[in-house]
Every structure is written in structure tokens, then in C-alpha cells.
């Protein structure tokens, strides 16, 4: 029987999360909390220049300082070969990854690591870092994406020749790659339009702004085996990257995932981990490294900023005839911006016959970007959704009805080629339109904006183990770092399949020696993919429980079924046996064959695409330009909410981060390419007092490929807020803004009130 057709006992309930008490009492161990005997503290020496050649590094004074136990530079790390590896959002080059961990010949952004030191205290390590003398030859730099694309721009890398174009360019440039997606006849589409709107947009790079800093403890013994504890979205990724960078066999590196205080994509790569291993190897003692907030801003990846041109045509009756987009995304110092997914998602919410999206991946002297929830999609969909809203307004159509008329349905061919299966785009629009929020009258200087969002969601490799303990409790093991309450969801799914109380199940995220490879916690994949592994492992355990009952009853295993947590005879023909509970079978497992368990190791396929529709009400102060978010509703097709509280939390968190992206957040550089606002005082993320309650509506259109219908939910909700806020501000002010963030000075400049 398909699990989706059953009535659920635990799926959809809201038990207390298994890690909750530890987190509210301070017992939970985060990356920086571990202390080992003899542990050293590590510090990093960072480039003060945006672009420079390293002429020499003299570490002698630092090494001579009392208390310093090891110093490393790029000379201590093997030269990496040029090899593509998966890194959260995209394939990146292993040579670039190595350069980003520690610079070898050049520095490409202010804050890039050039050396690291370990000492007996933080104070000594800081003094030692200051004693390391690096001689630079400062080079011209470029920060802005469009400036970086100019013919006369300083070229960062001599080996980058624009990919995706033929013939291959004759000279290197900062444009690392070009992508293009097209359907139909774009010219014919625009010719058929009654109205065409074309706008240029810009967005700023924004940081994932996780509260917990990057932190690691590494301990390498004289036998060359390393234990690593770190804050990461993927301890298998950490093992793989460290092994590759340091040329160590994977089996000699054991990585444990500490509790994680936020990642949002930003912890899908390594920064400190290889350095800590190198320092520990050299010192023969464990080393802890923790980034300061300033280091996080200067040296860990934000997502891209962008410059975009969007052109959309429609008929008078509200049918979109063509969409055209050019997207230029900053990659930071090394190639690998999310321009591919940005291009693929730009028009994905719509059923269009004629589409073209061209994207460029552009390097400049900024920190290398790394994934941030739905990498690329908030950027491109912000621009498209802003023009879609303007078209609806110009045509005098309700913005939700306009979107519904053109919205994707089952069978729609997305601009990136694939035909959608069962999706809930239309249902989110209907639910949004039916809200009380959408009907509340607005006052002076107030405006309402609507926007939709699409994200693919992914599957990937996951494993799970179910061990039936002697007393009938269950230990559940898996290896996906729990960022958003996934352990609770795993326990719920196991309980649903096993038919026992969810409180009987203890889920644990175990180390890299204790389970098989897991892809990172990213791509909204864990509840979907690791959840599938948990379901399969639970079913395997049930098969063994049935086999044990069959042995006890001396019947064929086919004569035993599993219902409501009990083994039962399949029919009266099998015999007259009292049902045996899981606990009863477990209690005599030693007599029937030993411990009972179930395991599953999978590469999950069939992640269901996700769609969301958000409504935002704002009030704009005409004198100051300050934008207050009055009301906010996030509607999303979540497939099936395993633990609705955590799904709602994902929607609320995504909306909050998207609002910050729209209103506040930006990197500010001086003329030397140095970041001027590397801290939360000057880089303003929304806090609770800045926001209203984010109302959520969970639409459940089950994903047919998941046993319970799960779709990923963590990324879609950051996509619509940028345009929802932008469209609300347009409605409040009568001005169509085309640059984020919508800061008070920008609002006043747009409305003319600041003149």
C-alpha cells in the first residue's frame, strides 16, 4: 500500500524536538565548545589587499615566539590539481578551493588567508599572527560585476577563458562562463505582445549571516589519523575536501558534526578545517580555530550580487508572450556563481512558449561566493517578478490572477527544458488570494506586493540505520547535520512506519566512521532524501521483525504482517497467534538470531519542485524613506509537512532573510577594495522587532515519489520576499525601484523627496 494513501498517526504532528532541551539549557555542543587536553588555539593571517601578488612570507619571528607550536602557509599544503568538485551550489575547481583555503602566489580579495598559526593561547596566537611578515606587490582590483566584465578590467586569473562560447576566446577575462537557455521564438513572442516592459536591475551580495561562526577542532595523531569536529552542513563534504586538499586517505579522517547554529548554504565548503588539520599535524596537538564575525564577513562566502536586464511582453488580455533575461552574477574571487540555477529558475513559475535567458559568471576581487538558500533564484526571480507585477499593474489586472493565468501547471515545460510533474504553483496562488490578508484595506503611504518563487529541490546520497534495542526503544542513526529540526522529522517518519510512539525513537547524527556517505544538508534535501533512507531502513527492520515472529510461531515469514507496531498472522489460515509487539520481539532477540536492525543506503531521486506565493504589506515614511513591513503571509506547497512547526519555521526564516535582502543588506567597499561594514552593527540583518508575525499557509500537494509526499521546503521561502517587498514599495510610493536594498536614502532618491 502506498504510504501516502494511509491516515497518519505521527506524520503531521508536532512533538518536542529531540535536541530541544540540550539547546535551551546550553548542553548542546557547538563547533567552538569542544576542549581537548593540550589543545592549541589557531589564528589566521589575512590579506590586507584586494588584489596582490605574494612576493614573500617570513614566519621566523612568529615561530620564535614563546608558546607558538606551529605555523603553516601554502607551502605546507600540496599543490592542488585543476579538478571539478561538487560544492553545495555548483561544481568548483579543486585548485580554486585550495587557493581559497590558503593563498599560494596571489591574493584575490581582502581577507583571504595567507598563513595560520597555532599557539597555547588566543593572545599568543594573535601576537604571532601579527609577527608574520608578508611582502605584497599590490595589483589593480575590481569589485563591481559590470566593471569586471569590461575589456580594460584588471584580470584576476590568467587561465580563465570564457567557457560556454565558441570559438574559445583568445585572451583571458573575468567572465568565467556563459550559459543560455531558450525555448520557442523570442522575436515572434515579443512581436505578438501588446505591451513590452524592459528594466535593468541590480542586487547586492548578501551574507548568509548564520549566528554561529565557522569553528573547528582538529586533532591529528602521530599515526596520521585525524579527528575533526566542526560546524558544517556536511561532515562528509569536510572529510572529502580535506582529504583531497591534504592528500590524506578518507579513512584516516573522522569528522563529527557539531550542533550547528545556522548555515543557509554558507557552510557547504571548507575554510578553517584543512588549516586546523595542518596546524595540528605540525604541532602534534589538537587545534581549535574559530572565526570572528569580522572574519566571517571578510573571508567567507556571501551569495552573488548581480546586474540584470529583464524584458517581458504580454497581450492586453494578460497572456505573457515572451520573456528575455540577461543575468550577470558575481562569483567572487573564483568562478562558480549560481548563474546556472539563476537562469533556470528565472521564468520557471510560468508557462511560456518563448523564453531566453543568458547568464554570465563573473569573477571580481570579493570573497568567493558560496551557496545561500536557493542559490541564484532569489536574484533572478526578484527581477522577473518585479516586471511581472508591473505588467499586471499596467494591464489593470489583479497580480495573483495574472500570475495564475500564466502560471506553471502539471505538464508545463519549464524554460530549462524539463516538464513539470505534480506541482502546486496554482494552489499557492489560490490560497494566497483566499487569505484575509489579501483583502485588508490599505491606508495612506501603504502598499501591497505579491510575488511567487520556484526552486527545484534535490535528492542525493543518504543513509540510515534503525537499531531495535532490547527494551523496544529504537536508535536511529543518520549523517545529515540537523539545521532545521530534521532529527524530529526522521523520528516521526520512523515512528509512522514502525508503528511505535515517536518518543521511543532517539535520532542521532553520527560521524563519518559510523554511517555511509551523505551529500550536504542543502538543496532542501534532508527530509526528502534522508527521510527516504529512514523509511527504507524502518521497512528493513520490519522485515527482520516479521522474520523473528515467524521463527517464534514456526510459520513462513509470508504468513506474518506488520500492523500498528505488531507482528500479526496474515490470516486465520496461518494460525491463532496473539500479536507480538516490537518490544516483545526485541526482548527475546538474543534467542531468535541476535540484535535486530535495518539499514538503507540510497541515492534519492525524484525530489518534488517547490513553489511559493508571498504577500507583503508595507508602509513607507514619505519624509524619511523608511519602510515598515506591516503584514506578511508566506504560502507554500510543501508536499507533506512531517513536523508542521519546523516547516512553518522554514517559511518564516526564509521570509525574514528575504526581507533583509530587500531592505537592508549590502556590502560596502572603499576605493581600495576593502570591506567597510564587516559586522552586524553596520551590516543590518532584520531582528525580531523589525518584523511583523510572518503568517504561514502550508499547501500540501504530495510529491508522488516520496513515501509520505515530502517536498523540500527550506529554500523556496527566501525567493519571493525580494520582489514582494519591492512590489509593495512600488504600490506605496508609485515608483518602480530596480535596485536592492531599498534603503531609506534609495527610497528618498527614487521618490524625489530627498531632493
Amino acid at each position: 500500500m502506498n504510504e501516502q494513501a494511509k491516515q497518519f498517526k505521527f506524520v503531521g504532528t508536532r512533538p518536542i524536538r529531540p535536541d530541544g532541551v540540550d539547546k535551551v539549557t546550553g548542553r548542546a555542543m557547538y563547533g567552538a565548545d569542544l576542549t581537548l587536553p593540550g589543545m592549541l588555539e589557531g589564528k589566521v593571517v589575512r590579506s590586507p589587499h584586494a588584489h596582490a601578488r605574494i612576493k614573500s612570507i617570513d614566519t621566523s619571528k612568529a615561530e620564535a615566539l614563546n608558546g607558538v607550536k606551529s605555523v603553516v602557509t601554502a607551502a605546507d599544503m600540496p599543490e592542488a590539481e585543476s579538478k571539478p568538485v561538487a560544492a553545495g551550489e555548483a561544481m568548483i575547481n579543486f585548485r580554486d578551493l585550495a587557493e581559497n583555503v590558503i593563498a599560494r602566489h596571489k591574493v584575490f580579495y581582502e581577507g583571504q588567508t595567507v598563513a595560520a598559526v597555532a599557539a597555547t593561547s588566543n593572545e599568543i596566537a594573535e601576537r604571532a599572527a601579527a609577527l608574520i611578515e608578508v611582502e605584497y606587490e599590490v595589483l589593480p582590483h575590481v569589485i563591481d560585476v559590470l566593471d569586471a566584465m569590461k575589456d580594460d578590467a584588471p584580470v584576476l586569473h590568467d587561465h580563465i577563458f570564457t567557457g560556454g562560447v565558441t570559438p574559445k576566446p583568445e585572451k583571458p577575462s573575468n567572465v568565467a562562463n556563459r550559459v543560455e537557455f531558450a525555448l520557442g521564438d523570442i522575436d515572434a513572442g515579443f512581436a505578438a505582445a501588446d505591451i513590452v516592459i524592459e528594466r535593468k536591475f541590480t542586487t547586492e551580495p548578501v551574507h548568509q549571516a548564520y549566528i554561529e561562526p565557522h569553528a573547528v577542532v582538529a586533532d591529528m595523531g602521530p599515526d596520521g589519523k585525524a579527528d575533526v569536529w566542526c560546524s558544517s552542513q556536511g561532515h562528509f563534504m569536510v572529510r572529502s575536501f580535506c582529504a583531497g586538499l591534504l592528500k590524506i586517505e578518507m579513512s584516516k579522517i573522522k569528522v563529527s558534526a557539531a550542533e550547528i547554529g545556522g548555515g543557509f548554504g554558507g557552510k557547504t565548503t571548507v575554510y578553517l578545517e584543512p588549516l586546523a588539520i595542518m596546524l595540528s599535524r605540525k604541532a602534534g596537538r589538537p587545534v581549535r580555530m574559530v572565526m570572528s564575525r569580522e572574519e566571517i564577513f571578510r573571508a567567507s562566502g556571501p551569495t552573488s550580487g548581480a546586474a540584470m536586464t529583464i524584458k517581458i511582453g504580454a497581450t492586453k488580455d494578460g497572456r505573457i508572450t515572451a520573456g528575455d533575461a540577461t543575468l550577470c552574477l558575481q562569483a567572487g574571487a573564483f568562478p562558480g556563481s549560481p548563474v546556472g540555477p539563476a537562469a533556470m529558475t528565472a521564468f520557471a513559475p510560468y508557462d511560456l512558449e518563448n523564453v531566453r535567458v543568458v547568464g554570465f559568471d563573473v569573477v571580481s576581487n570579493r570573497p568567493k561566493v558560496v551557496a545561500y538558500r536557493a542559490p541564484g533564484a532569489p536574484i533572478s526571480e526578484y527581477a522577473v517578478e518585479s516586471v511581472v507585477d508591473e505588467l499586471a499593474s499596467e494591464l489593470g489586472l489583479d497580480p495573483i490572477e495574472f500570475r495564475a493565468k500564466n502560471g506553471a501547471k502539471e505538464g508545463t515545460q519549464a524554460a530549462y527544458g524539463v516538464k513539470f510533474g505534480t506541482i502546486g504553483m496554482q494552489e499557492t496562488l489560490e490560497a494566497a488570494k483566499a487569505t484575509e490578508h489579501y483583502k485588508i484595506p490599505l491606508g495612506p503611504n501603504q502598499g501591497r506586493g505579491v510575488a511567487t518563487g520556484f526552486w527545484f529541490n534535490i535528492g542525493g546520497e543518504s543513509c540510515a540505520g534503525i537499531r531495535i534495542n532490547e527494551d523496544g526503544s529504537v536508535s536511529l542513526t543518520e549523517g545529515s547535520p540537523d539545521i532545521g529540526g530534521s532529527r524530529a522529522s526522521m523520528a516521526i517518519m520512523a515512528a509512522e512506519v514502525l508503528g511505535i510512539d515517536v518518543a521511543k525513537i532517539k535520532p542521532s547524527v553520527v560521524d563519518t566512521d559510523a554511517t555511509g556517505y551523505h551529500f550536504v544538508t542543502g538543496g532542501s534535501r534532508v527530509t526528502f532524501a534522508t527521510g527516504m533512507a529512514v523509511v527504507d531502513a524502518s521497512k528493513a527492520a520490519i522485515d527482520e521483525l516479521r522474520a523473528r515472529a515467524a521463527k517464534i510461531w514456526d510459520v513462513d515469514v509470508d504468513g506474518v504482517v506488520w500492523e500498528d507496531g505488531h507482528a500479526k498472522p496474515a490470516s486465520t489460515n496461518v494460525g491463532d497467534f496473539e500479536p507480538m509487539s516490537l518490544a516483545e520481539i526485541a526482548a527475546i532477540a538474543n534467542k531468535t538470531g541476535g540484535p535486530i536492525s535495518g539499514h538503507a543506503d540510497i541515492n534519492a531521486k525524484g525530489a518534488g519542485p517547490g513553489f511559493g506565493t508571498h504577500i507583503c504589506d508595507v508602509e513607507v515614511d514619505p519624509d524619511t524613506g523608511f519602510v515598515t513591513v506591516l503584514r506578511y503571509t508566506a504560502v507554500q506547497d510543501v508536499g507533506r509537512a512531517i513536523h508542521p512547526s519546523y516547516v512553518e519555521g522554514q517559511l518564516q526564516g526564509g521570509a525574514a532573510q528575504g526581507i533583509g535582502w530587500a531592505l537592508n543588506e549590502a556590502y560596502m567597499y572603499d576605493e581600495d577594495g576593502k570591506l567597510e561594514n564587516a559586522g552586524f552593527l553596520d551590516y543590518r540583518v532584520p531582528v525580531a522587532s523589525d518584523l511583523p508575525m510572518i503568517d504561514t499557509i502550508l499547501v500540501e500537494i504530495p510529491n508522488p515519489t516520496h513515501p509520505f509526499g515530502v517536498r523540500g521546503v527550506g529554500e523556496v521561502p527566501i525567493i519571493p520576499p525580494l520582489a514582494a517587498v519591492n512590489n509593495a514599495v512600488a504600490a506605496a510610493t508609485g515608483v518602480r525601484f530596480t535596485a536592492l536594498p531599498l534603503s531609506p536614502p534609495a527610497i528618498l532618491a527614487g521618490t524625489g523627496a530627498g531632493d
Binding site: P84, A86, A87, G88, E89, A90, M91, G164, V165, T166, R178, V179, E180, F181, A182, Q208, G263, F264, G265, G266, T268, G340, P341, M344, R356, V358, A371, Y372, R373, A374, P375, Y416, G417, V418, K419, F420, G421, W455, F456, N457, I458, G459, G460, G522, G523, S524, R525, N603, K605, G606, A607, T705, G712, G714, E715
Partner: protein, 82 residues
């Protein structure tokens, strides 16, 4: 024969602009090998940095999946996430 759809960008690089190409294959491994034989570099590109979507399901690590003349096959960039 199976029909394979490419993005316009990939097509301009490897297939002289043809966004639909036909090869003989019964699974993805054979399909990629056939594409490499017909359009040098394309198979390598798929293996290193592309996903394959078959009948609407995006497969990040395709290899043994069955394909036939009724399959809807698209070659796409790999998708990750945050």
C-alpha cells in the same frame, strides 16, 4: 534511437546549435558515450558538470538508468542548493 534535448548554450558549444540530437542507447551510460563519440567533448561535459533529466525527473548522478525512444531526456547543469 533516443532523442536528447540540450540547452541552447550547450548546443552552441558542442552540436553546432542543434538543441535536439539522436543517438542509439539503452541506458544513460551508453547515451553519454554515444554523445561523446558524435560530439567530442559533450560526454565529458555531461559527466563533469551536468545532470540528466528523464521524464521530468532530474538525476544528478545518472549512469545506469534506462532510456528509450519514448523518454523525454534533457541535459541540464547540475543543481545543488543551500
Amino acid at each position: 534511437m533516443v532523442k536528447v534535448a540540450l540547452t541552447s548554450g550547450t548546443a552552441s558549444q558542442f552540436t553546432d546549435g542543434k538543441t535536439e540530437v539522436n543517438v542509439t542507447a539503452q541506458n544513460v551510460r551508453q547515451m553519454v558515450a554515444a554523445l561523446e563519440g558524435k560530439f567530442p567533448g559533450l560526454g565529458t561535459e555531461i559527466q563533469q558538470s551536468m545532470s540528466v533529466a528523464i521524464d521530468g525527473v532530474i538525476l544528478p548522478d545518472p549512469f545506469l538508468e534506462t532510456v528509450n525512444e519514448d523518454s523525454e531526456i534533457f541535459i541540464l547543469p547540475k543543481i545543488g542548493g543551500g
